[in-house]
Amino acid sequence: MLRAALLLLWLPLAGAGATDKPTQEPVSLGEPPPGLALFRWQWHEVEAPYLVALWILVASLAKIVFHLSRKVTSLVPESCLLILLGLVLGGIVLAVAKKAEYQLEPGTFFLFLLPPIVLDSGYFMPSRLFFDNLGAILTYAVVGTLWNAFTTGVALWGLQQAGFVGPRVQAGLLDFLLFGSLISAVDPVAVLAVFEEVHVNETLFIIVFGESLLNDAVTVVLYKVCNSFVEMGSANVQATDYLKGVASLFVVSLGGAAVGLVFAFLLALTTRFTKRVRIIEPLLVFLLAYAAYLTAEMASLSAILAVTMCGLGCKKYVEANISHKSRTAVKYTMKTLASCAETVIFMLLGISAVDSSKWAWDSGLVLGTLFFILFFRALGVVLQTWVLNQFRLVPLDKIDQVVMSYGGLRGAVAFALVILLDRTKVPAKDYFVATTIVVVFFTVIVQGLTIKPLVKWLRVKRSDHHKPTLNQELHEHTFDHILAAVEDVVGHHGYHYWRDRWEQFDKKYLSQLLMRRSAYRIRDQIWDVYYRLNIRDAISFVDQGGHVLSSTGLSLPSMPSRNSVAETSVTNLLRESGSGACLDLQVIDTVRSGRDREDAVMHHLLCGGLYKPRRRYKASCGRHFISEDAQERQDKEVFQQNMKRRLESFKSTKHNICFTKSKPRPRKTGHKKKDGVANPEATNGKPPRDLGFQDTGAVILTVESEEEEESDSSETEKEDDEGIIFVARATSEVLQEGKVSGSLEVCPSPRIIPPSPTCAEKELPWKSGQGDLAVYVSSETTKIVPVDMQTGWNQSISSLESLASPPCTQPPTLTRLPPHPLGMEETQLPLDMSSDPRSSFAFPPSLAKAGRSRSESSADLPQQQELQPLMGHKDHTHLSPGTANSHWCIQFNRGGRL
């Protein structure tokens, strides 16, 4: 199969080669171009980018092919496969073109292929882990690399002196040191490619990987110093030159880091002001990081270090400043670029190895190098670890050391550096090239292949990923503070002390300066975990639709132990995020506590969840604000739905008084956005029923007046990335209106309005402590969710009720469920009947019902069972009264979940 795939891959290449030939001819003939050609073949104008694109395409296709077979990729690292593919492709090209056309050009490699990989790894580096282990990382990176370079160089020289290396290899001590310096550095690309598939524990990973990133400075310095020494000739090297060499180590590394940090600062500062041009946010990240790389390269500082520091330094602030969508875009683009570059690098490595004209073989040198790099790496690791363990809280054990020694992979950096050597100055270049190729291939293929079984066999601690919980996050923070305090008491200014210092400085100055005010406010780590947990809950909640509710109360992913919590969290999330940017925050706050709003929000959330699956996509393109389209589309649809429903209700109901009450709602939303004051005036038009279902709709309905439209659009623009926030704001307004109308008591059935969330909520168990649990049906129902849902449901019911049926059929307050399920059944029945006529209308009513049935089913289990015979001939997923539509929704969700 693989062979077939390779053949397939070869086709475009051959095509490219084939097209290459014929195009050459017409151009070389030099004929005057005919007046107007109907068809012109202009290969040369597009040749370079076309080939680049083709290479990337081939590499990507290869990746796809590799991953077709799970067995292959689980056994063989992708990097190995790519190198092998490169070898094959290189062979083919060689056979076709009779000369090696393509190879890994050092220029391309350093300027285009390396930066994305380094940026990706720097940006997504777990900074806490990195700094926790910074001491070890720096030791291995600096001391380890120096050690490897010198010992390997000297040992090879010794080998040559002993006569094991052929006399054709003309190299002195300096040449070998130069070679040692370029072959000694652990390569970030190779390490990343292999270790990402071997899931060792985080500490081990960060040490090996951090080392491979940071040792670049040492490698660059060593390489440059040795290279210039070689070029000067060993006789001309003065003592001051050695000093300069040592000094340049500091200049290159610290300078590179400084360049990176400066650009990180600029980047963070720039993203602070991109509020109105969200679309360029990802671009800025890449541009400035790349600028950091190029600047460092220009000043011959360590470019890798610069980009690493840039990514590491800016992440916190950039992530806080840019929009959610930009965050996703940055993440994906970065990963795509990095993986693309990595793929191409490995493939080109394979291809370049084919070109035999560039290298010359010497067995002694090759075998000696292989042995020495492995041996000295292991020796260096053991020695350094021994020293480090004297200072480490958690010592690195033997197994860690084995993996660290074995994980010292060499890669494309070494290859690019060796290609860069000047043959006139380094006569043994060809031998070095061959040796480097063998070393790289050996480490990537042999070590890469065996490291996984080795890790398994040694039973290296694997990384265990568990989802963060609020408790863990909180306690981790407390522990940090405790440790910092204890260090203060002990009077030792250690790591915790300085970290604490730094955090305070960051909080006081840096974050203030670099983060958008709104972002700064919500950018707390605990808060962040809370936020993410809630988002996840909300998503899964919406995704799962009624399922979660119907079976065992609520079961949300982040909340394995207790179901009840989920609801509060989801709703709280909505409220919270709303308050982050909501204009009418004050209004909401002054009017009422958040609790009651949450319930309605919950309900609306459900409705939103029901609505989503059937969203239709229209082709639309916007250059500046992508989200607006989506929002508008959604709004429009909701609007249409609501209008339909409204018409229905007009026909089907006779209680006009209720209408007067409900009309102000849409108006008010518009007004409120402007001045933040609730407008209780009553006008004609919209039934209170909307309360339940028009979460976003309520806001968008106000298209009638221009003002409102304006405010709407500005709102959308502001929050273009967070749909959920939008929902929250809308609902809170809606709810507030509900409350206002309730207090006005325009509606003839006052009994109906009191159960609106406010009153009900106040009796909820978590609000008043452990007080009145007894009021509710069972201990199960006292769990927050169901009751809460009940209120939301109740509210919608009440509004429905006020419209559609005579008030007398309305049950007393539904929140106080009668302990006996039979009573429930009775009250349920008229409700269902009253809402029945609406089921004949296509979509919205069914939605409404699905929403209702869901909250109903969530209310408690006994009730459900009682109700089932009444409603359910359709299915026993408790969605019974829903029409085909709602049923479909659920099915959809279920599918999506699977």
Partner: protein, 196 residues
């Protein structure tokens, strides 16, 4: 500054303290020097004021609580034994410690449980063995800072308590506290290397 003794023998009751805390001679000496440095008036004990004078501790959100933990049961002074006992919670755990330990002996102060208990009592202000919602709220307020509104803080609190609360009493008991942290490497996170 107090008089500097360079010999561990000068520490009162040194053997007893060593046995109780498990500190090495060197660390104990180091702590004793620190103790003397903090004890400005050479009274032989530390008062709250002495600890409050440590500059960085005043900025630490948990500074007051940690100072309080040095003064159990409302006492106003702490002698060196007490001082060392509190700090012994942060001694790194040795692997061989657990195996050698006599089962009859009380658990060493730096055991996982004792480390957790130390953290727990920083939350549990009223010492009723439970972190109530209110206590959690106070801690969160200290930790989260001013950027988050009260209302948001309350909902975080609710969620945090509910997340850990298993028996549904609206408070986090020590067992629940331990459980919520069972995946965390407490031995590592609550240790300071220099306190061998």
């Amino acid at each position: 500054m107090g008089s500097r003794s360079s010999h561990a023998a000068l520490i009162p009751d040194v053997d007893h303290i060593r046995r109780e805390t498990g500190f090495s001679q060197a660390s104990l000496l180091r702590l004793y020097h620190r103790f003397q440095a903090l004890d400005r008036e050479e009274k032989g004990f530390l008062s709250r004021l002495d600890l409050q004078q440590i500059g960085a501790l005043a900025v630490n959100p948990l500074g007051d609580r940690i100072i309080d933990s040095f003064f159990p049961n409302g006492s106003q002074r702490v002698d060196f034994a007490g001082f060392a006992r509190v700090l012994a919670h942060f001694r790194p755990v040795d692997e061989d410690d657990a195996t050698i330990r006599d089962p009859k002996q009380p658990e060493p102060l730096n055991s996982r449980m004792n480390k957790l208990r130390f953290a727990f009592q920083l939350y549990d202000l009223d010492r009723d063995g439970k972190i109530s919602r209110n206590e959690m709220l106070q801690v969160l307020r200290l930790m989260v800072g001013v950027q988050v509104t009260d209302e948001q803080l309350e909902s975080i609190t609710d969620r945090t308590v509910q997340e850990a609360d298993e028996d549904g009493d609206g408070a986090v008991s020590f067992m629940e506290f331990t459980k919520s942290l069972e995946k965390m490497n407490i031995e590592q996170k609550m240790s300071i290397r220099i306190l061998k």
